[in-house]
């Protein structure tokens, strides 16, 4: 066996101190397999070494939380013995290298995290960030990512119901592709990953293992595979057909009682899945790598342990149940192999060709993982001492028209029409609304889900931005009439070794935590993606929040589209006219400095309760939260969706119409008196803005606004 040189250690991304810890954990020098395993388990991605202590501050509990962070996905109670299971994950880097496959395998990976817990996936969401539309790579990346998300999700047959897409030059060299899946399972059919039962079989199912995505594989194969052919691509290719079979096969097996534990093979495949199962169960696992189904010849233990081939799962079965399980996987034409067993050694033991090729104590591998308290400097960044006033536009209507056709406010129809958003027949609010809503199959209940984040606020003020991201999902879920229950998240940041970036991270987490706590809206799962930097230029801090809420009766939901001529239009919440960091300031006035709007969490809670109450009572005919672009943009969106005009009878300056003050909703009703009485009883600020009617808004025809709004993206994508 080769000795481990400092170069090999460095190529595995381990620093000297970390390597010393490995020597200490093992009490000897690792072999290359063991080094590979330590390196992936102690990578930022798997060990959360920069983020762990901060994540630990997030609130994760509520009476309805069945399983918080720590498992493959979070689980919440949705009543009647049913649960919702969800998580979000990043696939940023792979999507930049190969947008189609990167995004596709991102969707595949997050689906597995959800169905590995026993859930049938019922909705996919995503949050995408691209560089400037003018950047030469943006079109190619956007078209590949969207095709990849659709290509995978459509084929597997899970509706993609909501998402978010933004452009900003900060993502020119690091796009973000975050994918979220929501599933449902019966509460007594939730599966966990803790291995148990000495001697129980460890079973591999799904696709065969190839040399996909092995990090540092160049080096390792030079060591072990002299006649290595062409340099191997590290890009994984997704196979959604196999994923669909895997979902059906796993759910069929899960209907019985033969599974002790189950875990998808995600990042660091066989390594992280087996280590996590052993660690959670406080047992050992012995794997005989000769039994691993292999797609290529002469695979080394190193390659097998580190391969990130897709569409694979690892399970521990009850003893003697192998044949029954095998029959199911045979029916679905999937590989099935007993590759090891649970042991009482508390070690991960690897056998290959009759030899022990790795033997690592699980405790140190997991518990001794680095856990850094990186220096951080939390401070609002963009509050310039001297900042200009944000001037008024020359003409309100024309400015609205210009904003509706700008890249970040334009319609995303070009994207979501490439996603099957209706498959499974339960989607009752399609993309384009405030939240995607899918019925809980066969019931009147429905789940509302959404992804949100406003990176420009997070950059200007990490704490407020962190709060805002949580609050915006809370609002979007409330706006359809659902009760927000819990969130998942995907925290995308630059290099945590820089104090200002770490400061953004810590600040955002602080804000998120405050919001989750105040709103009774805990974190049940999530993911962290750091080092999103190219040539020292970091992305904007982008803590994407995925929120999930529940409606008892989907028939009561409201949408954003204006329904009836003559209905009265109100805004709930005060408008202070906060223009700094607004779309108006950025797009129309080219002003990028100034503080982010503040989030009043007590008010968020009160407003949400009020809105949900009014929807429940049937008072509202349409509802929409006020977000990017402010009040006038929200009104235009409602008008376009309903194909109806609005007559405004409220006077306001540009701060009123374009300001991005938080916590506000547009409420539309046929019964203004009832709404006004309810608001005054609840002591909430409600302002009448006008009424539905005609075919224009501020002199702009709704058709014209719609055209500007709909045409930007198809036009952009058609150009070369």
């Amino acid at each position: 066996m080769s000795t481990i040189t400092p170069e090999i250690v460095a190529e595995h991304g381990l620093n000297e101190e970390e390597y010393a810890r490995i020597l200490n954990a093992l009490g000897r020098e690792p072999n290359i397999n063991e080094l590979g395993i330590f390196s992936v388990m102690w990578s930022e991605h798997c060990s959360y070494k920069s983020s762990r202590r901060h994540l630990a501050t997030l609130p994760t509990e509520a009476p309805w939380v069945i399983c918080g962070p720590g498992e493959n996905a979070g689980v919440i109670d949705i009543g009647d013995g049913q649960t919702a299971i969800f998580k979000m994950e990043s696939h940023n880097h792979p999507s930049y290298i190969e947008p189609y496959q990167g995004a596709a395998t991102g969707v595949g990976g997050i689906l597995r995290d959800v169905f590995t817990m026993g859930a049938r996936p019922v909705a996919n969401l995503n949050a995408l960030r691209f560089g400037s539309p003018d950047h030469p790579k943006t079109r190619h990346l956007l078209s590949g990512v969207v095709a990849g998300i659709g290509g995978y999700g459509n084929c597997v047959g899970i509706a993609t119901v909501a998402g978010q897409t933004d452009f900003d030059p900060a993502y020119d060299g690091n796009i973000l592709v975050n994918a979220m899946t929501v599933g449902t399972a019966d509460a007594d059919k939730v599966f966990y990953s803790a291995a148990a039962g000495m001697g129980n079989p460890v079973v591999y199912v799904g696709s065969k293992t190839g040399r996909d995505g092995i990090h540092g594989a160049t080096m390792a194969s030079a060591e072990f595979d002299d006649d290595s052919e062409e340099k191997r691509p590290t890009v994984q290719v997704g196979d959604p057909f196999t994923e669909k079979l895997l979902i059906e096969a796993c759910l069929e097996l899960m209907a019985g009682d033969s599974i002790v534990a189950i875990q998808d093979m995600g990042a660091a495949g066989l390594t992280s899945s087996s280590v996590e199962m052993a660690s959670k169960g406080e047992v050992g696992i012995e794997l005989n790598l000769d039994e691993v189904p292999q797609r290529e010849e002469n695979m080394t233990p190193y390659e097998m342990m580190l391969s990130e081939s897709q569409e694979r799962m690892l399970m521990v079965l009850e003893p003697g149940r192998e044949e029954e399980a095998h029959a199911i996987f045979r029916k679905w034409d999937l590989d099935f192999a007993v590759i090891g067993k649970v042991t009482d050694t508390n070690h991960l033991t690897l056998l290959h060709g009759g030899e022990v090729v790795g033997d690592i104590p699980i405790g140190p591998l997991v518990d001794d993982a680095p856990n850094y308290d990186r220096p951080h400097d939390v401070k609002p960044a963009a509050i310039a001492a001297e900042r200009p006033d944000v001037p008024a536009p020359t003409e309100l209507g024309a400015t609205l028209h210009q904003m509706m056709g700008s890249p970040n406010l334009s319609s995303r129809r070009w994207i979501w029409e490439q996603y099957d958003h209706q498959v499974m027949g339960d989607t009752v609010v399609l993309p384009g609304g405030d939240a995607g809503v899918v019925r809980v199959h066969g019931t009147d209940k429905a789940l509302a889900s959404v992804t949100d984040c406003t990176p420009r606020y997070c950059y200007a003020d990490p704490v407020e931005g962190g709060k805002q991201a949580v609050a915006e999902t809370y609002r979007n879920i409330s706006a359809v009439g659902a009760t927000p229950l819990a969130i998942t998240n995907c925290l995308n940041f630059g290099n945590p070794e820089k104090p200002e970036i770490m400061g953004q991270f810590v600040g955002c987490i602080q804000g998120m935590g405050e919001a989750c706590k105040a709103l009774d809206y805990p974190v049940v799962s999530g993911n962290v993606s750091l080092y999103n930097e190219t040539n020292g230029i970091a992305i904007l801090p982008t803590p994407v929040i995925g929120g999930v809420g529940l409606m008892q009766d989907y028939k009561k939901l409201v949408r954003i589209a204006l329904q009836n001529d003559g209905d009265s239009i109100y805004i709930l919440g005060d408008t202070g006219g906060h223009l700094y960091q607004s779309i108006y300031a950025k797009v129309i006035q080219d002003i990028h400095v100034g503080p982010a709007p503040r989030v009043d969490l007590a008010q968020e809670k009160a407003h949400s309760a009020f809105v949900r109450g009014q929807i429940e009572d049937g008072t509202l005919t349409a509802c929409h939260d006020v977000a990017d672009g402010g009040t006038l943009v929200a009104l235009a969106e409602m008008a376009m969706a309903g194909g109806k005009g609005i007559t405004l009878d409220h006077e306001g300056d540009h701060g009123f119409w374009f300001g991005e003050d938080q916590g506000r909703y547009i409420l539309v009703t046929s019964n203004g008196a009832a709404l006004e009485a309810a608001a005054s009883e609840a002591n909430l600020s409600l302002t009448k803005l006008g009424r539905v009617g005609g075919d224009s808004l501020l002199g702009q025809s709704i058709d014209g606004l719609k055209q500007a709004n709909e045409d930007w993206m198809p036009g952009y994508m058609a150009a070369v």
Binding site: I97, E98, Y100, Q101, S207, G210, R211, D212, E229, E230, R232, P233, V235, Q236, V237, G238, D239, F241, T242, R295, E296, S309, Q310, D333
Partner: protein, 80 residues
């Protein structure tokens, strides 16, 4: 000048389509098919008559559009 371009997956890259074809062939009773790989075959009709110039243009087309060089190889054949 006519050209034929073959675009194939690099070796080691998973080919879900090939795998599925192989599987269906075997269930149709075609035994003894060890492996199937599916690629693309693109025929182009170019105005260019100079062979070198045509090859250069085609290489450029492959790099820029016809092949995804992260996972695919391409091969250009010219027919006078």
């Amino acid at each position: 000048m006519k050209a034929k371009v073959h675009v194939t997956l690099k070796s080691g890259v998973l080919d879900p389509q090939g795998k599925a074809i192989q599987h269906t062939l075997s269930s149709l009773g075609f035994g003894g098919v060890n492996d199937v790989r599916q690629g693309k075959f693109i025929e182009l009709d170019l105005e260019e008559t100079n062979e070198d110039a045509a090859r250069a243009a085609l290489t450029d087309m492959c790099e820029k559009l016809l092949a995804n060089t992260v996972i695919e190889n391409y091969d250009i054949e010219l027919i006078a």
